[in-house]
Symmetry: C2
């Protein structure tokens, strides 16, 4: 929009030097093949909070990897309100759901200052022709997304407010952990409002549950800073059998 931004963090880290490569697309490629992926990746300036990566209805050209920061995707309900469909953390890939309609079915917006790697889909497809493993990885990504969405459907149709929020916190914790951050103590990128929107709850309900969890020693929360105090009980609320839950318990 204005002149080139003054970025402290180098904006052009190659995949081979990126600390996230073992979680991101490159994990499907050998060291020498990574460079080919690297060449098609576009790394733009950081997005500021509130800026959009793409809008619902934009033509589907690329998939994106989050390098730092956080992205939310959302769509409009029939009444024109926003319905958040996903939150994306560093190393996670978004945009794939646009593939079969040639337009993105959701909008993607930065929730804080965010760095993004853009992978033009057409070139990704030709690369997939060369590297079957990359192709399989893409399909696994989508398959995983389907499973996660089904977990989410289960949450929305069967869980009460306490269970929803416990599940959400445990899930976030586990994702932070995989990325080398603390799973006990972290900062939420989203507001209570956004959390409620995503979880199918009113803001007030989210707030009340947080208060109650804190009163009962499950968590300690100040604003967006969260500390998980009783992972075991939180996991149990979330419905212990999930892998996520076990990961956190083992981390404590």
């Amino acid at each position: 929009m204005t002149s080139k931004p003054n970025v402290r963090q180098p904006s052009h880290v190659a995949c081979r030097d990126c600390s996230l490569s073992s979680l991101c697309l490159p994990l499907a490629l050998s060291l020498q093949d990574i460079d080919q992926l690297d060449r098609i990746i576009k790394r733009g300036r950081p997005l500021k909070k509130g800026e959009h990566l793409f809008l619902e209805g934009d033509s589907f050209d690329s998939v994106f990897a989050v390098r730092s920061g956080a992205i939310k995707t959302y769509t409009a309900t029939n009444e024109g309100e926003e319905q958040i469909t996903s939150f994306y953390l560093p190393s996670e890939i978004l945009g794939l759901s646009g593939m079969d309609t040639d337009v993105y079915p959701v909008s993607a917006q930065a929730m804080e200052t965010t760095m993004i790697c853009e992978i033009p889909f057409e070139q990704l497809e030709s690369l997939s022709d060369q590297f079957p493993e990359l192709r399989r990885h893409l399909m696994r990504l989508m398959s995983k997304k389907i499973r996660e969405d089904q977990q989410m459907m289960m949450l929305l149709s069967k869980k009460n407010a306490d269970e929803r929020i416990a599940t959400f916190l445990i899930n976030l914790a586990s994702r932070f952990r995989r990325r080398g951050f603390s799973s006990q103590s972290f900062r939420l990128a989203m507001s209570r409002n956004e959390m409620g929107n995503y979880l199918g709850l009113a803001v007030e309900t989210v707030s009340r549950v947080f208060t109650r969890f804190q009163k009962n020693g499950l968590i300690y929360a100040v604003g967006k800073e969260i500390e998980i105090r009783d992972p075991a009980q939180l996991c149990q609320l979330a419905g212990g059998k999930t892998v996520d839950a076990e990961q956190i318990i083992s981390a404590s």
Copy 2:
């Protein structure tokens, strides 16, 4: 289980002779290439109502296409109850969500007598190596599934009982229509219980909504036979902007 069943319908229709080929996997292939797909497809005996195609946790070996009948997929909630995740009608493909874990994340059960085409995944993958278009089609299928699941999440988190059931009926009608059946009048494969389970509603609520819809002239329902009397209003309840809705309106 017993001797070979006496099937009225020929159990070994080749893809090229199957009336569903234009909706199913073959749509990605040219006429001569279809035969290659055809050779890897296994067509077993029909499943009787209640029989399982696979169980949650079974090793992921194949994807399946429904040829006739209907399949539901479900998983167990933490309390051990069944949570239905999808219904599949003829020409629809299921099983793809097992891809990234090597086990099926759900169980699949016949809701009525059902004929199935089984496509061993390993062979489907090698075929994909030969035919980029087949590969793209598979990815589009998954992408579509993701979009549908997100519609479902929206339904579960934002819609009330009336809207959920209207959406469900409109969606079914549109799927029947695509398959050349009437979209005005059809037979539900699922019980009220299963419908409620899928839609996140109690059976009693489903029943009450059906009664009310009937009283208001939106539908006429006797048991599992459904007639859509006022597609426009039903679409509006479902949240008019969906493509499904428009299709039905244009059909009336």
